[in-house]
């Protein structure tokens, strides 16, 4: 399951989708919105995705992970839209017979997703807003 959704992520469903009777281990990574960035309070985040390409890129990442580790199940759900601090932006779950593989594969998937998936976020502060990582040496673009 690869899902890009404006609705709150159902973590238990992500876990259930990734689980398998042959697995002894499920590793789950959950990304949550932090209440600060650059030492300033974050009011909320705006996430957007190029959905068709995001699904395609995440599928490539899962394919590569499945070649490198003996995965028995997996699921990735990424939220878009307006998210407040504490809310879940992404949930990734993978299952494998033994635990080490589940940790390594899950970390690989989130690392690659952050590097490759066409998803963007804008941080909204009291005094401005900023597309994260978009411009070099610009603390906040729209002050």
């Amino acid at each position: 399951m690869i899902k890009i959704t404006p609705k709150p992520i159902d973590i238990q469903k992500v876990i259930d989708t990734a689980s398998s009777l042959g697995a002894g281990a499920v590793n789950v990574f959950i990304g949550t919105v932090r209440n600060t960035a650059h030492g300033k309070n974050v009011l909320w985040l705006e996430y957007e995705a190029y959905e068709a390409m995001a699904v395609a890129e995440i599928r490539k990442i899962i394919d590569e992970a499945s070649h490198r580790w003996p995965l028995l199940g997996w699921a990735v759900s990424h939220r878009i839209g307006t998210l407040k601090p504490g809310e879940v932006s992404v949930a990734i779950a993978v299952s494998s017979p033994h635990r080490k593989d589940s940790f390594e594969a899950c970390q690989f998937i989130i690392d690659k997703l952050k590097e490759k998936a066409p998803i963007w976020k804008k941080e909204i502060f009291q005094d401005g807003e900023e597309w994260v990582s978009a411009q070099p040496n610009v603390a906040s673009v729209y002050n």
Binding site: G31, Y47, E48, A49, Y50, A52, M53, A54, A56, E57, H78, S89, V90, I110, L113, K114, E115, K116, A117, P118, I119, W120, K121, K122, W131, V132, S133, A134, Q135, P136, V141
Partner: protein, 80 residues
């Protein structure tokens, strides 16, 4: 040929539209496309990086564009 180009994140703020049109020569490469793009929108050249996606995949500078390709601007991603 006329390319319709999807914009995301900061590239939408810079261009001011969800889709922009750009005129390039038949058989233009991604590199040539980017040169035309930067000429039309100089602020796009100041981004940390800017990739071009063709038909939902990252495209190399040398890739040749064809009429009907789905082209999109991919500024620095920040998912997760």
């Amino acid at each position: 040929m006329k390319c319709t180009v999807k914009t995301f994140g900061i590239t939408r703020d810079i261009t001011g539209a969800r889709e922009v049109e750009l005129e390039v020569a038949e058989g233009a490469t991604v590199h040539e496309f980017k040169q035309a793009l930067f000429k039309q929108y100089p602020r796009l050249a100041s981004l940390t990086s800017l990739f071009i996606a063709v038909n939902h995949a990252y495209a190399d500078d040398g890739q040749v564009l064809a009429a009907g390709d789905e082209i999109a601007l991919i500024p620095p991603v920040a998912g997760g």
